[in-house]
């Protein structure tokens, strides 16, 4: 059997999307109070869910690659446009702090009855039109700036993938340690 399985039809989308949506909803990530609460440092659900998911998936991918089950170049790794990733992330972060959601969680939130999330979703589509309108002016700048050879953090630092995954575990543990200290001092 060859991996990835090339299972890319409608049923695959519905199944994996369905699991994604179920977990996000039950995890509380359709709740704009929680999502924006992360940006006020009042609720750490977003950080915990995202970081845990990244560590589990990255660790799993590393194991599959180390065992030779799935070649490293067989999965999609996004291109490194540093400036564009940073500025785009800034806009999406602003959008979540102000509007309550990000693109995926707005779908989850509306599916649980939150009408404000539908307005956010309309905003997403209109924001895409705005980008399309400005594209001719933005295009030269988007692909300019630093264009490094490496795609991944392990390539950039010349470290094995498992070291990077362990470093992420360290970051998550450090955040929990700081939070527990704050809790103790507040009590």
């Amino acid at each position: 059997m060859n991996f990835p399985l090339e299972w890319t039809g409608p049923v695959s989308g519905l199944v994996f999307g369905g699991l994604f949506g179920y977990i996000l909803e039950r995890g509380g990530l359709g709740n704009g109070c929680r999502l924006t609460g992360q940006m006020r440092l009042q609720d750490w659900t977003v950080f915990r869910v995202m970081f845990t998911a990244i560590i589990v998936a990255a660790g799993g991918l590393w194991i599959l690659q180390a065992m030779g089950v799935m070649p490293a170049d067989s999965i999609y790794v996004p291109q490194t446009y540093l400036t564009a990733a940073l500025i785009g992330g800034a806009f999406v972060g602003f959008g979540m702090a102000v509007g309550g959601y990000c693109p995926g969680t707005s779908v989850v939130a509306f599916a649980a009855g939150r009408v404000d999330a539908l307005l956010f979703f309309f905003g997403l589509v209109a924001g895409t039109w705005m980008f399309a309108g400005a594209y001719e002016r933005l295009a030269p700048w988007l692909e300019a700036g630093p264009a490094p050879q490496w795609l991944t953090v392990s390539e950039m630092l010349s470290l094995p993938g498992w070291v990077v995954v362990l470093a992420l575990v360290g970051v998550a543990a450090a955040v929990e340690w700081v939070l527990s200290k704050q809790k103790t001092s507040a009590a």
């Binding site: 519905l14 994996f16 924006t36 560590i55 996004p78 806009f91 693109p103 779908v107 924001g127």
Partner: protein, 179 residues
């Protein structure tokens, strides 16, 4: 630190523990990579929807637009793609969770100290910024922040740095609108 509660969060079965939700999400993401070779996303769908809806309203303007024109060239339907099924799946999965666990009810949320009209304005402005930004970075929190970082992509972590830096600044500036 999970002390921040809202009146609406009290209805229905409670949220899962964040580590459990994160672990299950990580396994789902891993399975998606194994099955398809790529991760999960969202803004690919809103982009396709923006292109398709723009063609319906203003086909001439779309044909002249460098960004949208290639998506609909020769009558192509940008919605005919895996990401459309995946986002439809997200909506169905979330609806199933909300319904089975007593968590579905119609409501209008947003900053708790603001009127509905102002909440609507915040939601639209936030959506505009997120839609615009996700096209600059060619990915959103799901596609670049989550799935990109899971491949250890530098772009994913740089996205997350910008996301949290400006998100935290905006979070503190808008803190007074929340109880």
């Amino acid at each position: 630190m999970n002390t921040y509660q809202t009146s609406t969060a009290d209805r229905g079965r409670p949220d899962w523990n964040a580590y459990m939700a994160g672990g299950l999400l990580g396994l789902t993401l891993l399975a998606t990579f194994v099955a398809t070779g790529h991760g999960l996303g969202a803004s690919g769908f809103t982009t396709a929807l923006a292109a398709k809806s723009a063609v319906a309203v203003a086909p001439g303007a779309v044909a002249a637009n460098e960004y949208l024109a290639p998506m609909v060239a020769e009558g192509a339907n940008p919605l005919d793609s895996w990401i459309t099924w995946q986002v439809l799946g997200v909506a169905i999965g979330a609806l199933i969770s909300a319904t089975l666990n007593g968590r579905f009810h119609w409501r209008f949320e947003g900053p708790t100290r603001l009127t509905t009209g102002k909440r609507a304005a915040f939601a639209i402005v936030g959506g505009l910024a997120a839609g615009f930004g996700a096209r600059i970075s060619a990915g959103c929190t799901s596609g670049l922040g989550l799935s990109g970082a899971a491949t250890l992509a530098v772009a994913g972590f740089v996205f997350l740095a910008g996301f949290f830096a400006v998100g935290l600044a905006a979070g503190f500036l808008t803190k007074r609108y929340w109880k």
